[in-house]
Amino acid sequence: MIEIKSIHKSFGKNKVLQGVDLIIPQGNTIAIMGPNGSGKTTLIKSILGMVLPNQGNILMNGKNIQRSWKYRNQIDYLPQIANFPNNLKVSELIKMIKDIRGGEIVEEDKYINLFSLHPFLNKKLGNLSGGTKQKVNLVIALMFESPLIILDEPTSGLDPVSLLVLKDIIIEQKKKGKTLLICSHIMSFVEAVCDTIIFIWEGKIYFNGTISALKKETAEDDFEHAIAHLLKNAHV
């Protein structure tokens, strides 16, 4: 379980997060949505300890994460931009991340098969296309069995087949009782895999509830329209 207690973060004059309070229970699949620049990635990075909040605390399983780093072996993270050392081969990168995490159960073969990455294993990362890099990125993020999975724009650059594979993987992980935090702008994807929506706007949580609750609140039948409604109201 993650507890976020009134997090504030500003970059210079730009106040990105302005008092975010959030409790993420174990076993939920949560979509973090919001317009560009609303603070989604900053929130995720605060949980990871990559961004250091100006104010507030983040507790993971009751422990404050500030200045600690060991808790990150409980988290699998997929960064938004996939870029790796160009001189390394795919197989070497996977080996290296395994080596760095050390001694965890790893299921890389399964994911390499699912994303059909076998032909690329001996290629250098610098020579891969954007979509293939994203698949490598996904393999690295998913191959560990951590209880919390954070995916930042997991669908970017993926072809339709891989997108379906990704959906199945996420549904499988849900069944295992893992917590998933997903940032995405792809509505159909979010609707298909997530239970709860967190809508961030101007650094605050604007909506936090299930998809059906969102539809009810906005009196819209359609998820995309409900989000659009939310956005419109937010801008007023």
């Binding site: 970059f11 990559m50 960064p79 001189n87 080596d99």
Partner: protein, 260 residues
């Protein structure tokens, strides 16, 4: 930290530029030795090249590596690793691979020439040691500049400016001040001023070791009196070490406070 170091190091020794750097020193060593036919003279010429070029390469490689591995660093930051070991590990990876290019690149021709039978072996070793120090110093500073500047154009600019200042402008200012204040006793001033800049310090260290301080006139005598002794050598190496430790400490401090 050693895991990060290992991977940064292997990543770099596979890059084309490390080989170019290595081949350059290899070629330079051979050309100088067979043109001069004299190890001592070759060491002097090499010194002039090393003192300018090694800091430049350390600066460029450091800043380039730092910015190029930015996304990868973010991937590492999400792993259960502490920040200090990520950045210090990467820094050591760059600095060690550069130093190895230098040491092996120059070592091969000098070994082939028979450096072990020559009397200049200590001079040559000192040259490699100062070259190594300069690599570690300027790589550390360029990493610090990279960490402090999100904008890579600015980062590159500052790093090059810093190198230019230390390698060229500093000497100019030093000479102007010597001319302006020539009526005053300047022994201590020039001694301190040349110890503060790692490039000048390395140059003087090697020149004095080569026993050509007579060329430097009266100042040379003052310098010889100080640097020529073991005490001077120890102080100089201590200062060079300090020049490594301070930027590394600053990298650590910056890394712990930065948002990624």
């Amino acid at each position: 930290m050693f895991k990060i170091l290992k991977y940064s190091f292997f990543d770099l020794i596979r890059s084309r530029w490390s080989y170019v750097y290595f081949a350059f020193f290899l070629l330079l060593g051979y050309v100088l030795l067979f043109l001069n036919n004299d190890v001592s003279k070759a060491v002097i010429t090499l010194m002039n090249v090393i003192i300018i070029l090694v800091p430049l390469m350390g600066t460029m490689f450091g800043v380039m590596y730092f910015y190029n591995s930015k996304e990868f660093t973010e991937l590492l930051l999400a792993q259960p690793l502490n920040r200090t070991s990520i950045f210090i590990g990467q820094y050591l990876g760059v600095a060690i691979s550069l130093s190895l290019s230098l040491i092996i690149g120059l070592g091969i021709p000098f070994l082939a020439y028979g450096i072990f039978k020559s009397e200049a072996i200590l001079d040559f070793l000192l040259l490699l040691v100062t070259g190594g120090f300069l690599t570690f110093i300027f790589t550390a500073i360029s990493f610090y500049i990279g960490l402090s500047n999100e904008n890579r154009i600015k980062g590159f600019g500052y790093a090059i400016l810093f190198w230019l200042f230390m390698a060229v402008i500093y000497d100019g200012l030093f000479l102007i001040s010597l001319i302006l204040f020539e009526e005053y006793p300047l022994d201590t001033f020039s001694l301190i001023a040349s110890m503060v800049n790692p490039i000048d310090l390395s140059r003087i260290l090697i020149l004095l070791k080569l026993d050509i301080s007579a060329l430097l006139g009266y100042t040379g005598a003052v310098f010889q009196k100080f640097f020529g002794t073991h005490w001077g050598l120890i102080v100089s190496l201590g200062l060079l070490t300090l020049w490594v430790i301070i930027p590394v400490f600053l990298i650590r401090k910056k890394a712990l406070k930065k948002d990624f």
